[in-house]
Symmetry: C2
């Protein structure tokens, strides 16, 4: 008697000396990371932004796609894409990171999507703000969570499901939250949620539900799989844990010099070398980025590019915040204003490279006091892990 459960196995931790399995590799081949040299781009070019797709990319027809708003609302709504496009239009530059970024570097390793350090990307998302739509539908006074349902369908640890995530009403009503139908100025690509996805600036990627079909308001906390089982910080399998929410601060080094094909070790010539990269936090504005060239023994301050004049990444803001920001470099002077408060910031460090072997890394700190650890912050799902990156560099004797 074969059942849906036969396709799944329970979650597990890898054995101490167990290499990456073929199943983990299968996920790595599908769900790609940002090639680190792409940290050079303010906005990640199409196709280089990280991807995490739980099941299959659905085959949806934008012309027939409908979004339903129901549950604890006074006036349930159904909108097609044309109706959503007629609503107020906003573009935000937002950095997204997968909650499992860094998982494959943990010991013991939770067996799941085996990210190293680069499951991140920054895009300009265009869409219409969610909050006014919820207000039009009329939230009931007892509303607690808002559930977003995607069209991707699969099994996970034996549970058949459409991908669904609940968000507390207070977060769903933030003016920054978008129903996005464009990415980098073009219609959404299939793999990024076409024709419609949620964007929740500051939160890890699991909240940004792709292929969005339904928004349901509940009078209780959502107890679906992705909230109650999957995305939780647990110390053990029987710990109920706490929810994964916003993005911990992280800085990534754009690796200097040129790489070895297999090891990705970098070769740098001796002399002055600008080490640069990006940093972000979903909690609060960044206050510092520091750089190490000795794997975290010693640190030196990096220069952080100014925040945009009108706001900070991680700043909560009230109604009207959608109109602040600065114009996109690509836009005409009279083009739309792009809100960049939720995007990564560039940093630089002038390194005097002398021959030898080095391990480069960077550490971001934000105004909430959060920073990045040198020792791994372990949890059973491998979530919200912002261990400092390690970039192996050989500085040659020869110039």
């Amino acid at each position: 008697m074969t059942t849906v459960e036969d396709a799944s196995r329970p979650s597990r931790l890898a054995d101490p000396d167990e290499g990456i399995s073929i199943e983990e590799l299968g996920l790595a081949a599908r769900n790609h990371a940002l090639p680190l040299e792409a940290l050079r781009y303010d906005v990640t070019p199409v196709g280089l932004h990280y991807l995490l797709i739980h099941y299959d990319i659905p085959d949806l027809d934008a012309g027939r796609h409908l979004l339903t708003v129901d549950g604890r609302v006074e006036r349930p709504l159904t909108l097609d894409l044309a109706a959503l496009r007629e609503r107020p239009r906003v573009t935000r530059r937002v950095t997204l990171e997968c909650a499992g970024n860094g998982r494959a570097l943990l010991t013991p390793r939770p067996v799941s999507q085996p990210w190293l350090s680069e499951a991140v990307g920054t895009a300009e998302w265009t869409g219409t703000p969610l909050a006014p739509l919820l207000r039009e539908a009329g939230l009931a006074a007892d509303a607690v969570d808002v559930v977003f349902t995607g069209a991707d369908h699969g099994v996970e640890r034996g549970v058949e499901q459409d991908y669904q995530r609940g968000l507390p009403v207070s977060e769903a009503l933030r003016e920054e939250v978008l129903l996005a139908y464009e990415m980098n100025g073009a219609p959404l690509l299939p793999q990024h949620g076409a024709p419609l996805r949620l964007v929740v600036p500051g939160w890890y990627g699991m909240a940004h539900v792709k292929w969005l079909t339904r928004i349901t308001v509940l009078d209780r906390e959502f107890d679906g799989y992705q909230n109650a089982v999957a995305y939780r910080l647990r110390t053990s399998a029987d710990d109920p844990g706490v929810p994964v929410t916003r993005i911990e601060p992280r800085a990534l080094v754009q690796p200097p010099g040129f790489p070895d094909f297999m090891s990705r070790t970098r070769v740098v010539r001796p002399g002055p070398c600008t080490v640069e990269g990006r940093a972000w936090s979903g909690y609060a504005p960044l206050t510092a980025v520091e750089v190490t060239t000795d794997g975290g023994v010693s640190w030196a301050p990096a220069t952080l590019d100014p925040a945009t004049p009108t706001g900070h990444l991680g700043n909560d803001s009230g109604p009207g915040a959608g109109s602040v920001g600065r114009r996109s470099p690509e836009s005409a002077p009279d083009g739309p204003v792009v809100d960049e408060r939720w995007a990564w910031r560039r940093w630089r460090y002038e390194w005097s490279a002398t021959p030898g072997r080095y391990t480069l890394g960077a550490r971001a700190t934000d105004a909430s006091g959060r920073t990045q650890p040198i020792e791994q912050p372990w949890n059973r799902g491998g979530f919200a892990n912002n261990l400092v990156q390690r970039v192996a560099v050989v500085v040659t004797a020869e110039r």
Copy 2:
């Protein structure tokens, strides 16, 4: 004393029970495959096409980019992008596959980019034919190989290099070979070789040099790293081997039903199930695709979509062939004709699914007599390996 060689290690085979290493995973995170559900698209959407980048994606300025043609030619040439765009413009739909596709499934496993079965994609490449340009430069009578140099720079097994590949003059003069500056109707993306790349229909991906800066005609066989060392079929480390050239036939199944997140095992309901996918060969027109549901014990014929009326994948063709093909579905009736002879073809098989566990696969055969093996065709680099794919399926008892 540190040197460039310190960034590299010699090539090796994995130990019999060695899982995928962190270094292999690092390559898998960068160089992604085609998610198999994307076999549904005739032309692979941007960002889903497989990628194999030896070093870093270079940061090139299309406005300043120059292509030099030199070596054994009567009139060396230097052209910018504007000059290339003024030349005759051709669009070809071409399936590209990485020569190392399937490598991570081999035993013993060559340690390199750890592809499973899906390092493939089909794009519409637009550019100008190479052959007329070579004729204008005036090939010397003693010309043997044409070397294509890319701007990507790195180290590989201790050898510092710009990526370079040589192609026999007879291949370089095929009318199908393009200098491409657009992909799927838009300027090339950075990761696909912007602003200019070579496209050699029928050959594995290593021949399609990206970030093309120079074309050099030699009076001898090119003995650079990527021809003489890397891309060769060898039985052992000291076997000089033979060059990797054209794409062996392969069929891939677009996995039916829906997946389990971790195992990617498919769940299918009992009843009629259309199993479909794509097949291709770089040698000769396809003659058959067969399907197995029992891991290769028994086979049944699939229905192969007709070849385009004007040609076949793998057909060599003379001057003027660039004008044949059929109009792209996206094109206006008076739009450009797209040559599809080098693109994959769709196939279908009507399966009556009854409850149980299955291993699906498909096998392509071409007019040259080449087909796909059930037992692995092993070589030390893991190249040109077209072992039949295995898709695990659970057909549930419940409808």
